[in-house]
Structure formats: C-alpha cells, structure tokens
Amino acid sequence: MENWRKSPIVFMFTLLPPALWLTAFFVLPLSLLWLFSFGEKSGITGIDITWTLANYARALEPLYLGIFLKSLWIAGATALICLIIGLPVALAISFASTRTRPWLLLLIILPFWTNLLIRTYALIATLRGNGHVNSVLGWLWKIFGAQFTPLEILYTDGAVVTGLVYVHLPFMVLPVYAALDRIDRSLIEASLDLGAGHVRTFFTIIAPLAMPGIVSGVIITFIPAFGAYLTPDLLGGPDSQMIANVIDRQFKAANDWPFGAALSFILLYAAFFGLAMRGLIGRRAVMGRAP
C-alpha cells in the first residue's frame, strides 16, 4: 500500500469513490454554472450559451465592484479581529496544563454543535434594542440614576462583523493551536534562558514557527466570511449588502442565472488567486530556508 505504482488496482479502488463523488457533485455542477456564466437569458427559463463576456463585463461595473470591495473590507475586518482574539486564546490553550487543555478545546468547539441560524438569532436577541446588552447597560445606568437611551447595535455593519467573528473564531483558534502545539518547547526555554523577554520570544521565536498555522487560520476565516450570506441578511442594516446577497437575488428574484454565475465565478477566481499566492509565498519561504 506504500506506492501507487506498485499496487495500481488498490489505488484505483480507493480513489474511485471520492473521485466519482467529486466529479458528480462538484466538477459537473460547477462546470454547468461556468458555462452559464458565458450565456444569455432566452425567454423566461432558457439560457443560451453564446460564449459572451457581457456578464463578466457587467460584474466589473462600479456598482458591483463596490459591493465586492465592501465584502472584502468586512471579511478582512472579520479575519483581523479573529486573529487578534484567536491568537491569545490559542496561546493560552497550548500553554495550559495537559489536564485542562481538552476542556478548553471543548469550550471552543461547543458552538459548532449548534446550528448557524440559531446562533445568529441568539445574537439578534442579544444585540437588539430590548436585548441583553441593552438591558444590562440600562440597569447599570439606572443604578447611577442616569438617563439611558438604548444603543443601536443591531442592523449595522458592526453587527455583521460581530456575527461573522462569533461564527468564525473557532476556525482561527484551531489551526493556530495545532501549529503552536508542534513547536519544540525547548526552543522557548532556550530563548528565555539566553535573556530574551517574553514579548521578544513571542515575536522572534513563536510567531515565525507558528506562521503556517496563522496563515491557514486567516485563509479559513477570510474566504467563508467573504461569501457570507446569512449573517448580513439577518444582522445587517439597510446598507450592509454583501456580494453573496446580490448573487442570491440574481438566481431568485432577478431570474438572471448567467449574471449570477459570472458573479459567483469571480468570487471563485479571487479565492483561487489567493490560495495560489499563499502557495507561491510558502514555497519561496521553504526554498529560502533550505541550506
């Protein structure tokens, strides 16, 4: 079983189910959608594949570019905040005692067991005018005898970022924790023994070694946040529209599948480009480090 050249039939058998699945449920539907992106509407439900680039041209108009940029901005903010919160959490977990570590990991993973929709509704109940945040603040204000007007937290871009961070935080903590776990503790001991402070040790020793995990965490947080649909829909205000909401409207209300497909594929190309860049930078770093 070590080499596919030595036992080709075993290799075929184990490769066949996932390959079939990938082809039938991923490659084929996406290819169909890719063809649609070069098509035009004909009548109410028909699509003619005319190999036109009009859909892509329309997707790059200022209106839609603006929406792409806004989604980029919100997703970037989400990834950054997840990093700022997630990195210390992962550090704390990796330096905790071996007895408490599984419990801390469980606490991070527990929200995954709840449905995304329910978690988002819970956030609505927390952030709205009569929600938990405002109730607590109102109670505090009343103790000090001050007048309290409820904070308008919900139905803003801030609420969308909060919701996205809440949902994607475990995706940041787990890869970073995995990378931190692999670091040889003796390196940190050596650095502290040789006189470097904790902060300097962190930036010179720990962070560079954990970098692959950090980059993975950022990518796994950024890409889903970029295509987020539910969170801006439920928590967002009148101008919190993200690109996935626009795509959804093209496939439903606007009944313009070719344009929706073009928008979707621009998202896909951007994601592939990002991953390719990460691969290139990674390879160059490895080659640079080789003696």
Binding site: K41, G43, I44, T45, L63, Y64, G66, I67, K70, R128, G129, N130, E152, L154, Y155, D233, G237, P238, D239, Q241, N245, V246, R249, Q250, F251, K252, A253, A254, N255, D256
Partner: protein, 365 residues
C-alpha cells in the same frame, strides 16, 4: 488460484457481448417503467408546496380523514424560491401557492397545468369578482384564489396620536427616523415608492423607477432595516414603530397585541392575491383538484381563515365568520381606500431586470 488468473477469469466472464446484452435489457426496462406506473390508479398521496403558517391547523388532517389521501407539505419563503425550484422541472409537487403576479410568468414559461373546473364544484362559493376580474389569469385557467390581502402600514398605536395613514412617513420624512422598516422585497419596495410619487405600482418606465430609487436612497438614513418578511417581529419587539407589511401578518399580531394598528395609506396600498395552482408534471393531478375543491368547502375555509387571518375570497365562508373578523379593518379595508389600491402584476422580464438593478443600487448606496 493466483491473482492474475482470478482477474482474467472475471474479465472473460464479462465479455463485451454479454455486457451489451445486459445494458440493453436494463435500458428497455427503464424506458418501459413510467408507462406501467401511469396505467395504475393515482396513489393516495398529495405533495403540497406552501408558505409557512398558511394553512388551517387541522385542514390537512381533515382532508386525509375525508378522502384517505395523505398530504406531505413542503414550505417556501418567497415566490422566487418557488420559481427557482420549479424552473428546471417539477420535483414532484401537486399543488403550489404562488402570488398572483407570478401566474402570467409561470404560465408563459409553460410551468402550469390548466385547471379542470368541472372537478372543482366549490367554485360556486367564490366571490364572483375573483372569477371574472382577474387580468393576470383570464377565465381562471391556471389558478384559483386562495387568500387575498393588502400591503399597507403597520404601526404601534401608542406612539401615534392618529394613524400614520400616508406613505410620506415611510418614504419621505425624517419625523420617525430610525423607527421605520420597509420590505426588502423589490417589487413592493419600489412599487410603494412609485405609488407615493403618483405613478403606477407596476410601472416599467425607467425614468419613474429612477425617481423612486432616488427617493429611497434619500430616505435610507432614516430607515432602520429592510425587513425580509419579518417586519411584524420588529414591530412587536419594539425595534421600530412603523412598518410596511402584509395585512395578514399585522392582523395576526393585532390579535395578540392590542397596541398594534394597521392602515392603508391615503395614496392607496398594494393589492395582492395568493392563488392555488397545479404545476406541470404533477404526479397526482386528480388528488390536486380534490384538494383545491376541499379548501373551498365553506366550513374548511372558515377553519383556514380563522388561523391565517387573511381575507378569504370565499363568500360563503366569509358569511360564516364572526364580527371580529368581518369588521377588522386590517383584513377588510374600507372600500374607498381599496379602490385607490392597485393589484401587483407581472411586468415582464425587462422591467424586472430594470427594477432589480435599481434595488441593488439602493441596497449598495
């Protein structure tokens, strides 16, 4: 027996000729199967595709008791969800409930089965104007009315000395800034703005649509949220005091909270009608007709109406309802305002594209 012998043994058993024979036999069986299935009587099953909380509490159970046909219900939240699902072929639904402005579109796309009125004798209980006055489905060839209603203004009574009966408070005023919610559904968002500006709710004129778009963008700083069919929840929880909503949603709220009111604006609201239709390729058309007939049985209709609190097109059922219902101005608005209200229609693919792009610009501004 070593490995290579076993495999070549397998290969010779499955010779090319044998394989082709087997495949042909399978192919013939598969093509013959549907013919056999159709020859048999319709199985006692009905697949119903409906909106959420839009049927009586015991209606489906009563239908099964009366006819022995089991009903499986599936839910959808928007008309375009229904359309997207049926676009590429009927996944097996027998009865669907599209809003009236979708009937011309579904019919033109060949997605509806004509109704056989002889199988629906309870048509005689339906208020005549629904059978004769329907420009979207002349002669009610493809659909029958299910419930009708309006889109108007829901409000919290204690915050308003007198009912805010004008679209101005929603679209053109900062008096209630931050306490307003509009519908996110593009047809009605733009439609009511057009009505406020004095145009038709179904306008396909680019200049008029641009005017409505500019109006809404100017009003955006005062709007708290574009609600996705949950405007009544925002009103109930006190997030907003003024919403543009479906009449039945507000009527259901009014039954629980006496501080909620509903009013049609002076400029006129939007009139809509939900319909019952049979999609093409429905596996149980006979059962579908029986179900539609059952819904318009006056007593059954009373049960449905008591739950959903929308206006019923069934005059026999309306006659049996209690005063609280028939005199509810949210459900049956005064004639004077009804006359000013317009029915939403299908405005064609080009106008839809124009309006959708306007809405994308509104949401992005």
């Amino acid at each position: 027996m070593n490995r290579s012998e076993g495999i070549s043994g397998l290969r010779s058993a499955l010779s090319r000729r044998r394989f082709m024979q087997g495949a042909t036999a399978m192919g013939l069986t598969i093509t013959a199967m549907p013919k056999f299935a159709r020859a048999a009587a319709e199985e006692k099953l009905l697949n119903f595709y409906n909106w959420d909380t839009y049927i009586g509490e015991t209606t489906l159970g009563d239908f099964t008791k009366a006819t022995g046909i089991e009903v499986k219900i599936d839910l959808f939240a928007e008309n375009d969800e229904l359309f997207a699902k049926l676009r590429e072929g009927n996944p097996g639904y027998d009865v669907i409930v599209p809003t009236n402005n979708w009937i011309p579109r579904l019919a033109e796309a060949g997605m509806l089965e004509p109704l056989d009125h002889s199988l629906i004798p309870n048509i005689r209980h339906i208020t005549p104007r629904f059978m004769t006055d329907s420009s979207f489905d002349p002669g009610r060839k493809y659909s029958l009315p299910y419930m009708w209603g309006t889109i108007g203004i829901g409000y919290r009574k204690s915050k308003f000395p007198e009912p805010p009966a004008s679209l101005k408070w929603l679209y053109d005023s900062d008096k209630y800034s931050g306490r307003i919610s509009l519908m996110s559904e593009c047809d009605f968002l733009l439609g009511m703005a057009l009505k406020y500006l004095g145009h038709s709710i179904n306008s396909a004129d680019a200049a008029q649509i641009a005017q409505a778009e500019a109006l809404i963008i100017k009003q955006k700083p005062h709007i708290k949220s574009f609600a996705e069919d949950n405007g009544q929840d925002l009103l109930a929880s006190g997030e907003v005091d003024l919403v543009m909503e479906w009449s039945g949603d507000i009527a259901q709220l009014m039954a629980e909270d006496p501080d909620i009111g509903y009013v049609l604006p002076a400029e006129g609201g939007a009139l809509w009608e939900d319909t019952l239709a049979i999609p093409k390729g429905a596996p149980h058309p006979q059962n579908a007709h029986a179900f539609i007939n059952f819904i318009h049985d006056p007593e059954v209709n009373v049960g449905i109406t008591n739950t959903v609190q929308y206006a019923t097109p069934n005059q026999s059922a309306a006659a049996m309802m209690d005063k609280a219902y028939t005199q509810n101005s949210a459900i049956f608005p005064p004639e004077a305002l009804l006359i000013k209200s317009e029915t939403i229609t299908y405005f064609g693919e080009k106008a839809i594209a124009l309006r959708q792009e306007a809405c994308t610009r509104i949401f992005a501004a």
